[in-house]
Symmetry: C2
Subunit: 649 residues, 2 copies
């Protein structure tokens, strides 16, 4: 069990230039050679040499109209007052659009400008004539040879990605094949004894191998292709064998993971023994333990195992390479100026890549950080963009304007309803239904508790807030809080659902918990909700009513941010009980001790209430039968006032 | 030979709403059903139902660090002054990142914070202890169950295009398959007796079938798939048979072409006899003869044969359908505000789709219309965007600001050097080499003649102009013109090449042309260059010197815009001779009667001369050996002053 706990911590920019400088000096950024493929298969590929026309298009003079081909000097003198007749077959030949011009003819008269005359001459052959009332100009209505493409002309330069219209031009220019760059081949080697194939019956300790498909998908989007090797266990020789095998197949080799410095992390050693580790460890967060190396003239990357680290490091260190190998300029980042909704602290000395949700509220794009864990892939799935916090910064204050790199388009963001506040599972179902009914629209919800939601609404950071705040004095839900927080702003309060709150306990209630009074027991650990959550207020009210001191509740200080978080803590034994909605107990098959029926409303400032997005949302809340059925099926919901306006002012 | 020369001329917006209204009422815009496919194959596909997690990730508590799992209450009281020892195996268990937490343990201490102590007790088992200097908090450095994904959580909503990170989340959520929308299947039926497969030995009258790959490529880019049928001849029954056959395979059927009303245009009749023609003929340009129909509940489009018409009509009438069938919102157009460089006249009553080249010159995006022919596919290949001129407009004045729909990104446009002026084949080679050396850069050249180029430069519409204007009085090239046109602006004049101009004649010189004096012969037809072209000035100078009256030259009024255009006219018999550079004769194997050696220079306003783009271009002109070799190989070029500054002021 040898272990090197000291990784380097090379600054990111330095690491990027060391890597690209080294790859350049080794000739590894040079575009790959070309391969000739059928034009029909070349969409999206990149030309490896200039495409010149070998024939002209059209390659013969052809009629540009339906009409009659004529010799223009036969038409001289025709006018309305003295029409001219031309004998068909001899002086005028019918041509459809695209027909070749008969030899010796040099103009076309449109069918619309011609009278067809039955020849009534007694010795007539039955042939017709045509009558025209104006003369033709030379070469009128004729597509001359080369009108579109002239032989030898440059159709496409080298290093151009082939679009649909290009396919047509290459074919029309006389080619059936086209020389395109080979696609950069990236071999992805998943490694780790704990890693299992998706679909395996899982045992504790197993990790489903999912990174390779993320990494492979990224390579595919950049224009490369990938092969995924079978999972290699934590075994130095096996890993070296796989890298050597990949060497003949790939232009780039990616090992995931074993990139850290743990006792079973063999990637750096394998690369070192086969070739050279250029650097190991970059001062970025997430993604620190990345390894950049070379094995016999091929780039080898050791990519960390946490999914967010894997995504970020491949993007930084492999993407420029995949573009260079295609002879393409890497597309620049799509960026957007946003305002941070809250303060973000960040460690000095590491460049942090912060995932943010963005909403356009009024005229401002507001960014809210999502989970920062390197292991939280859903933070990337849900993110709209990435903010970079420089290594020399200790963080950013709330309200700071920054540029973020977009992961979704600004247009999608503009079509997103931002809901901040208390979480309810019905919101997830609503998010799905709105996308189903209106593919352009999204509902994004961030869970900061009821009070946090109303505060965000007041700060203009959201379109709506989900809230279930019980006013201790009046016993009324939400309205007193809105009156207090929005003295000058008109806000509409609409009911979403009534729902049951209760104590969750494991199946069978092994500790025989019957109510809040049991929370003071020495053998009972509670899990709480965060300050500002409606459920937290409910907890505090019950403790107060029962005269229980918060300090006497074990686990009172452990906070979860969602009902499902509480349910998950109970299911997994982190806690014995916690207060949450019935639906979360049903979802995880927990037992449920009812405590209260509460009102869950949505608060919407009037200025948003009239927007098209919100009107569509309300239409769904009020009328969508599928939504109602799905919410009801979760259990514990009363939908009788769904969509009803409870307060305006 | 029956012919209906009267198409309808439905206004475009009316046609679009009639079409989508009818499709909607027939239920044909409803998303297609789903199909379950392996997650690994689902990149870019669209979810047909919500994806919910079936397991949590992680599904067991695991260590977030390399270190020791402990029970947090065993660590109470540890401090620097009174370190605490924990027995390995019993009180502390080594875990790597990702390892499951042993049962009963509830915190992890990082390896960096631990001292490993060799147990020196005489009866010691050889086991070690660890020493810690601070206590652990509950659940520190532990990834709890569901930290990333909680079972039952919504991973992706319905109607979402699957990105690389989504693949990872679906797999980590416990799925191996995912239900995605079937791809909309578009069957493309090329039809026309004159149409031949690419690669066929060509005979006069043949047209290479290239549209189907353009149309199919477009469908592919929109997320659909396509099948291309073999070419169907102009035969009503054969066409009906193909449509019926396609009916069982496709969601959408596209017939190309036979869409017009010519004697052999059967598409409208075939659709009418099998089903219904909803409308035939839309007042747009190009693209008028489009047919929109239904056959037994499937949309059938008759798409015109000219490539630009085919592109535009498929885009307008099939694209919304392909997106709807996927349950996706159609992406909005990327648009850009541009200034028109010249006046554009447009017919009243037709909405015109004008292809434009765009260049960023200084701070302004300048759009210049390219060829307007429906048959000129290269106008689309070269275009940066499409301007729409409304039906009720007779055109747009020079300098008008309009919004165009982009075909290339604004970034690519910003990295394009705009060269307007005289054409020389060396510019095509230069365009290719610059793209090869700097994939981000492009050189776009528009050919309006030397004088047109200098005028465009003066108006700020280009970065540089190619020019070879001979001043009759001084016998000097270019400099007198620049002095006259740019009295107040500093312009740099740099030589590109010296080149030979001469009369092109067919191989073997069948009419025995020996010089300009032969242009007055009755049996000789000349082809001229446009007014403002340097070559036109050269022609006029020679005619004047020889005392020849322009009216005595047959064909003097027929103008081509490029050397290759002149060469093509001579090759194909449109003319017997014309003045052009040697390279164009070499390219088309014509004979060449030398007339003059002339200087071809590039004029660059000083404010652009110092830009990075232009410096790279000049570097290539001066130093690139491959470029020099290729230019020399064309024949007739003297490269001795290539890149030399001839004038500044």
């Amino acid at each position: 069990m040898s272990r090197n706990i000291y990784l380097e911590s090379t600054p990111l920019q330095e690491a990027l230039s060391a890597w690209s400088g080294r790859l350049r000096s080794e000739g590894l950024l040079h575009p790959l050679e070309g391969e000739k493929i059928p034009v029909a298969d070349s969409l999206g590929r990149v030309t490896a040499e200039a495409v010149m026309a070998v024939i002209s298009s059209p390659f013969y003079h052809s009629s540009a109209m339906d009409g009659y081909a004529v010799r223009f000097y036969d038409t001289f003198g025709a006018s309305e007052r003295s029409p001219k007749r031309l004998r068909k077959g001899e002086q005028a030949v019918y041509v459809d659009t695209g027909d070749p011009l008969p030899d010796g003819f040099n103009a076309v008269i449109m069918i619309e400008d011609v009278n067809i005359i039955k020849d009534r001459h007694p010795e007539g052959t039955g042939e017709h004539s045509i009558e025209i009332i104006s003369s033709a100009t030379p070469w009128q209505h004729i597509r001359v040879i080369g009108e579109d493409i002239v032989a030898t002309e440059l159709i496409l330069p080298e290093n151009q990605r082939i679009r649909p219209v290009d396919l047509g031009a290459i074919l029309a220019g006389g080619h059936t094949g086209v020389t395109v760059r080979k696609r950069p081949m990236v071999v992805i080697i998943p490694t780790g004894t704990e890693i299992v194939e998706p679909g395996t019956a899982l045992r504790k300790g197993d990790i489903i191998e999912s990174n390779s498909r993320v990494l492979g998908g990224m390579v595919t989007e950049w224009g490369g292709e990938y092969v995924r090797y079978r999972i290699v266990p934590d075994d130095l020789e096996a890993l070296k064998g796989a890298i050597l095998d990949a060497h003949s197949l790939g232009d780039v080799i990616v090992v995931n993971a074993g990139a850290s410095a743990g006792s079973e992390d063999y990637t750096a050693r394998a690369i070192q023994e086969l070739g050279e580790v250029i650097l190991h460890g970059v001062s970025m967060k997430p993604g620190k333990p990345v390894i950049l190396g070379l094995v016999k003239g091929k780039p080898v990357l050791g990519i960390p195992g946490y999914p967010v680290s894997a995504f970020l490091t491949l993007r930084l260190f492999a993407r420029p390479l995949v573009y260079s190998l295609q002879g393409l300029e890497m597309p620049g980042p799509e960026s957007l100026r946003v305002r941070l909704s809250r303060r973000v602290a960040s460690p000095l000395g590491h460049e942090e890549f912060l995932r943010v949700k963005v909403g356009k509220v009024g005229d401002t794009f507001i960014a809210t950080p999502v989970s920062r864990g390197a292991g939280v892939l859903m933070s990337l799935v849900r993110a709209d963009g990435i903010a970079r916090i420089p290594a020399q910064s200790e963080g950013l204050g709330a309200g700071t304007e920054i540029d973020i790199e977009l992961l979704r388009s600004a247009r999608e963001i503009e079509n997103t309803i931002v809901c901040i506040g208390s979480h309810d599972n019905a919101l997830d179902l609503l998010a799905n239904i709105i996308r189903k009914r209106y593919p352009a629209l999204s509902l994004s919800s961030a869970h900061v508790g009821s009070l946090g939601g109303l505060t965000a609404l007041k700060r203009g950071e959201a379109h709506m807030a989900g809230t279930h705040l019980l006013d201790e004095e009046t016993g009324e839900y939400n309205i007193p809080f809105i009156k207090r927080l929005f003295p000058d702003t008109k806000v509409v309060l609409m009911n979403l659902v009534y729902r049951e709150q209760g104590l969750l306990v494991p199946k069978g209630n092994p500790k025989n918990i019957r109510g809040f009074e049991d929370l003071t027991r020495r053998d009972v650990t509670f899990v709480n909700r965060q300050t500002g959550a409606g459920t937290r207020l409910l907890t505090d009210k019950y403790l107060k009513d029962l005269g229980i001191n918060q300090a006497d509740v074990r686990g009172y200080e452990r906070e979860e941010y969602t009902h499902m978080g509480v349910a998950s803590a109970v299911l997994t034994g982190v806690a014995d009980t916690g207060l949450a909605i019935l639906a979360s107990a049903v979802a995880l098959s927990l037992d449920f001790i009812p405590v209260a029926k509460e009102r869950y409303d949505i608060a919407i400032p009037d200025r948003f209430f009239q927007t098209d997005m919100i009107r569509k949302l309300i239409g769904i809340i009020r009328e969508d039968a599928e939504l109602k059925d799905m919410v009801a099926a979760m259990g514990g919901y009363d939908l009788s006032d769904m969509g009803k306006i409870l307060y305006e002012g």
